[in-house]
Subunit: 313 residues, 2 copies
């Protein structure tokens, strides 16, 4: 089983690396740049070099390493193949096999970064103590990760947890990045919240704190909301209504123990969580009306924790 | 491991029992009445008697029985407790433990009937060859069962697969049985389809085959649809639009390999399946637009097959 493990969260600009003990405690973390040149062919060798270097510094043999978990920004099929990862330049890549080759046979598991982050939050973050959660990541877009009985639901096409593309408003006239209309992401992402605010500010309205902003952001909306601004309150109500209803529908499918809310937008904290939970409870099927809501707590480290958890199983 | 297993599907009026070989082949099936008197206290003893009798007739010892799977019409928590089963009169009942006691320690597993039927269809029915499916049961109501990596997703509150209560139309003024408005069940169940037809027939319309019906049923609607009746076509289009869209949203959560459609309404067969699949493909997130659609094929035996599969794991 080994004494240590590595969690590697590959992003489009940096790879975050965590060195863990097998009991799950973090020994050290660091970052290296992601070299996406020439179809990202150096990404895995660069990571392997960094791991070998760290092992050399501390006199750790490969027998002491129980496994390496890798998260990456694209779908990972159940056979471990990454069919396509635009941000890294990868296509039909067997990440686990290649990395195992580079690391002298240390076992490697790969997963989608959003799913892996959900696993990390379930293990050591906002969903600690749970065995099944739905993680909702509110960033530039809306991502998600579904964990059932401690396992990632990756999906037959790697689209498990793509909850940002649930259709919430079939009458929406503006298109989502995915080409369809009325996706959750268009209302509950940072971009979506800013748009909802701009639409209201463009119409006739009583003075609002948001009038002073040169560029309205989701952060500005939540800051104004905490100061009882009426436009911000309208926007947050709409955001929470749409998100709460979507989560109530997810509950009729998965019925998780908890919803864990993360991503940049979730920095608005408890007031955001309360608004979403209240809207959820109003909309929910009675059997699952009491599902717990929690804020993600690992921030950018959720990925390396989840990668480590993949190894531990 | 034993040579044989029993699958027991407990319904409100009869218990269906299947005697299987451990390779999954059915040896014999039969039914006994469900005695719901006095909080259903005789249900398990009656089943145990029937199993003992069958074993006696064929000279089978309990060592030859690998396990017993039980499906029942209510939620089953992950610890095996049935908190409430209105149709059987049960409350806070440890079904597995009681049945194991009655059967001299033969291992028993219990599950919700809709989930168990989904497992059966995945194993030997419409979803054969798959490892993850969403089963949709179109009957008086709309039920469902979610299977991920060969395991039932029961849910933290036993509400996994309650897809009939996904909200598809927040503007609906008629209430669902669950007390909320605009549930999938209100449009995609036999009752819902009949209602959609009645609403159209009540308005001004060109002559329809359905005008001759004294009571319009879902079956009559699909029969007329196969004869190109225009009112029936409208109703089926609406039914398929709502169901296809709901399934496209489920795909953004679970991304199953296949959707398996069963229940009384599904007897309409391929034309129904085609209508729903076409609507799904129009609505679906691109990564999962090609998900397979299949008709359930085990009918009322899905439950006993799924019960047997629970034992096999």
């Amino acid at each position: 089983m080994g004494t240590y493990g590595f969690g590697v969260d590959i992003g489009g600009t940096t790879c975050k690396i965590g060195w863990f003990r097998m009991d799950g405690s973090l020994v050290e973390k660091w970052e290296i740049p992601t070299d996406t040149k020439e179809d990202g062919k150096q990404i895995l060798p660069d990571i392997a070099d960094s791991l070998h270097q760290k092992m050399g510094q501390h006199g750790i043999s490969k027998e002491e390493i129980g496994g390496i978990g890798i998260g990456l920004p694209g779908p990972v099929r159940s056979d471990g193949i990454v069919p396509m990862c635009v941000n890294l330049g990868w296509k039909d890549k067997d990440v686990s096999k290649e990395m195992e080759g580079l690391m002298g046979g240390i076992p490697v598991k790969a997963g989608n970064d959003a799913n892996v982050a959900a696993l990390g939050e379930m293990w050591q973050g906002g969903g600690k103590g749970c065995n099944s959660i739905v993680m909702v990541t509110l960033g530039t877009g809306v991502g998600g990760g579904i964990i059932v009985d401690g396992e990632i639901v990756a999906g037959a096409n790697g689209a498990g947890g793509e909850i940002g593309h649930i259709t919430v408003n079939p009458h929406e006239h503006i298109s989502c990045n995915c080409g369809r209309n009325g996706c959750l992401e268009q209302y509950a992402s940072a971009t979506g919240i800013a748009r909802l605010a701009r639409e209201r500010l463009a119409g006739e309205h009583e003075a609002s704190l948001l009038d002073q902003e040169t560029e309205v952001t989701a952060k500005a909306v939540f800051d104004a909301y905490k100061q009882q601004d009426h436009i911000a309150a309208e926007v947050v109500r709409e955001f929470a209504r749409v998100l709460g209803k979507a989560l109530s529908n997810i509950a009729c499918v998965m019925d998780p123990e908890a919803f864990v809310i993360g991503g940049g937008v979730s920095k608005a904290g408890q007031p955001l969580l309360d608004a979403v939970a209240e809207s959820y409870q109003k909309a929910a099927f009675s059997a699952c009306a009491d599902t717990r809501f929690a804020l993600a707590s690992l921030g950018n480290d959720a990925g390396i924790y989840g990668c480590m958890k993949m190894i531990l199983g």
